[in-house]
Symmetry: C2
Subunit: 473 residues, 2 copies
């Protein structure tokens, strides 16, 4: 790879670096329509890994996938007052077809509660029909007015939205928390991005929810990133859409509901959390290629080296790619795969083959080791596992370093200005004090931990609980 | 299952039967917006099987998946003249967002050639960038004016669209035919729906293509169903969108392109081809559940029977579901799973367990057999394979019975009126004679076989080639 084809920014300049890394690694590109994103195969490959892992989690917990229409009658969105207020400014409206004006204005789904719950109202009759544990993989549309950022802020993004229906409030809350725990596992154990968990404040909750819970990560520039949300909808929507059932005593009851989602934003979190000045570093669990074999040959050794490289690829039980392209030097290929963040590079040349070995190079540390071909299978598996753990460990340290306990508003302001990060502070649970921090500093309450710890409010000094403030993406 | 919960129509009344079967088996439902479809988990489960099988085929042949934006500037569609003429009447237009009129009218993708090729023009520079072998799973939108039919004719449907770019015309044509062969395998070997292959006439080809090829199936009511299309686009789009590359001699060349797709319409074909008066019959290769275990118990035997049913499920290497619901009789469950078309039912009751056996019931023939538990694993695999073959064999016979060779236009008209089906006849390759048949009978040319067989035109008597006429969905 030529110099100018690599990453030219330092990661310390996160915003510029991020754009360049995403574009040059071939994860995504801007589309001709402002605010829209084209997800290229390498980025989509990460999404496919996330889908596979999360589908397995969903399957184990009794969920099934379905598909709901992308167009929603505008009147549906008006049925739940808070919901429409939250989403109205962001709606895209379909008003015409090729044959003229539509009778009814249709909204491109910004989220599918309303169109799905209209259908659930038809399907739910009896307690026997519950629970409904459906998940939907699709794309949603939000007319963002702020500047576009690939994977993080675009007018269309891919996600999954779960929509479940339960007979009791308790069962719905158990679902909310069980899914949040799946999200934590996905973030930490698969993406190697550590998160804090908790609920949202009234101000920050999902439009239409009774309670919103979330996982939040901390990016290297000190800004928080919401990674996933899981909402208890109470009976807000079941009453608006008439989702009711006859219970075992033949009494008609409104159902209790939950909804939850994670999006392609997760890919943005992975890029920002793990990358370095040379480009991406992908956790093995989501890397489209976990290892790349770069054969090193000249004309006279090409046939034998390529043959051996392909044979080795077949013996490995990981997602491996043999880069057999002509016309690119091994060094060029090394640089390209480093930029693309493939966790492990395997070099095989004529001298290695003579010694019956391959050279392994870790993307995260750059450490090189020569490994006998006979034990390559085990060595690769072991190193990949180690990389997965090392990335999480490093990210956890970063999270700890960026989490600051503050005792006064002055301290909070100063720390925010100097370091950003999570500011752990007391809050009296009043909207006034929450608004005050937001207005003065731009930080909001990202998470209210589930286990309350008493601490006096950082604004008014009244008794309160610990919460996490941060500026956010 | 109570009488009225089952299918009430005979399959001979195909249209009514189809609606009832799709709705009652829980494959899909109508949405609140006219023309739109909600795909329920059981229907989506079939689609997931199709996706898994086809993704494996794509992976083996070097294709990768990606995602392109759903909204396309209206001006893009105007760049290829035939293309926009073909799609303009069916477009849904986004003209407003929550914050007001859009600067530019956007079309909800009816198909994504234009938005994808705009991006390809940026990415393709050199012969080294070719071929591009990308596939896209998404949903597309077509404002249909005719009546809605679930899976067959809806305003939004799920599909995959492949968009490939090649250095030479030959290579593009090889891609077109290679994908058509994958589609044939998918239809015949997975869905057990036999097809005829060939190219479309100029009149029937895809708007913007140089040559369209397709696979066509024959439904039990004698109407043809287009199952998949694979188009050679020539340089029509590469010239309109400026997709050009420097070849190995540093000469600038326009690229050659192919596009191809299959949709959720395949599910409609499966339902119509294999079902019977009692409901669906799903080929094992795409059935979400290949077998269902129905435990037969009373209060005192419940624990032991359920335990054994679950243990058996774990020993089977197929997609199996244990129907452990309370409050439904075994007979009710038998009827429900028959309606839903699960290929194999496994009954396990206390008497069976005493004899260390289970009773297997095939959905396609109703044949019952008692099988020792010790050999259940092998017996289930064998029966499922046999069902898969038997369904294809039966469907092939149906196709043969519905294929009629005709020698005169009178014969063609009469056969169409009496039996419909494929009418194999000579055609002089003139638009006049093609239009004549369409205008007089409603039948069009579905397929021009790749290997031409000489036969005089059924209209004008001039020398011609054999083609397949039919009325179509």
């Amino acid at each position: 790879m030529a110099e100018q084809e690599g990453i030219t920014c330092k990661k310390a300049d996160l915003s510029e670096w991020y754009n360049e890394a995403v574009l040059k690694a071939g994860l995504a590109d801007f589309s001709a329509v402002k605010g829209f994103m084209f997800i290229r195969p390498y980025g989509y490959g990460i999404w496919e890994q996330i889908q596979a892992v999360f589908n397995a989690m969903l399957f184990r917990t009794g969920h099934v996938n379905a598909y709901a229409p992308a167009l929603i009658p505008e009147r549906f969105l008006r049925k739940e007052k808070e919901h429409v207020e939250g989403f109205a400014p962001e709606m895209f409206l379909v008003t015409e077809s090729g044959s003229g004006k539509l009778d009814e204005r249709l909204v491109l789904r910004p989220t599918s509660e309303t169109v799905i719950y209209d259908a659930y109202a038809k399907w739910v009759r009896s307690w026997r029909d519950l629970p409904i544990l459906y998940n939907y993989w699709n794309s949603v549309f939000r007319a963002e007015i702020k500047s576009t950022k690939l994977f993080l802020r675009t007018c269309e993004f891919l996600w999954q939205e779960g929509h479940t229906v339960h007979a009791t409030e308790d069962e719905a809350m158990r679902e909310v928390l069980a899914v949040l725990e799946l999200y934590r596992q996905l973030a930490e154990e698969v993406l190697a991005v550590p998160v804090v968990l908790g609920r949202k404040t009234e101000r920050e909750k999902f439009a239409g929810a009774a309670t919103s819970t979330c996982i939040e990560a901390m990016m290297p520039d000190g800004r928080a990133l919401q990674m996933g949300t899981s909402h208890h909808l109470g009976q807000n929507f079941s009453k608006a859409f008439d989702i009711a059932f006859l219970d075992q005593n033949q009494q008609r009851q409104f159902a209790w509901q939950a909804s939850w989602g994670v999006s392609t934003r997760l890919i943005g979190a992975v890029v920002m959390t793990h990358g370095d000045d040379r480009g991406l570093i992908l956790p093995p669990a989501v890397a489209p290629y976990q290892a790349v074999i770069v054969p090193i040959f000249k004309d006279d050794t090409k046939a034998v080296v390529l043959k051996e490289a392909r044979r080795l690829a077949e013996t490995l039980a990981v997602r491996v790619h043999v880069d057999d392209r002509d016309g690119y030097s091994p060094g060029w290929k090394f640089n390209e795969w480093e930029m693309k963040g493939v966790p492990l590079r395997i070099e095989v040349g004529p001298k290695d083959l003579e010694k019956r070995q391959a050279v392994l190079v870790r993307r995260d540390t750059g450490a090189k080791s020569a490994v006998p071909l006979a034990t390559l299978h085990a060595a690769v598996a072991e190193i990949l596992e180690d990389i997965q753990h090392a990335l999480l460990k490093r990210a956890k340290k970063l999270l700890a370093d960026q989490t600051h306990h503050v005792q006064s508003f002055k301290d909070l302001e100063k720390t925010l200005e100097e370091k950003r990060g999570f500011l752990v502070a007391g809050w009296c649970q009043s909207r006034t004090c929450e608004d005050h921090v937001k207005d003065k500093t731009g930080a909001d309450i990202r998470v209210v931990p589930f286990e309350p710890i008493s601490q006096d409010c950082v604004i008014c000094g009244k008794p309160g609980i610990q919460v996490y403030f941060a500026k956010a993406y």
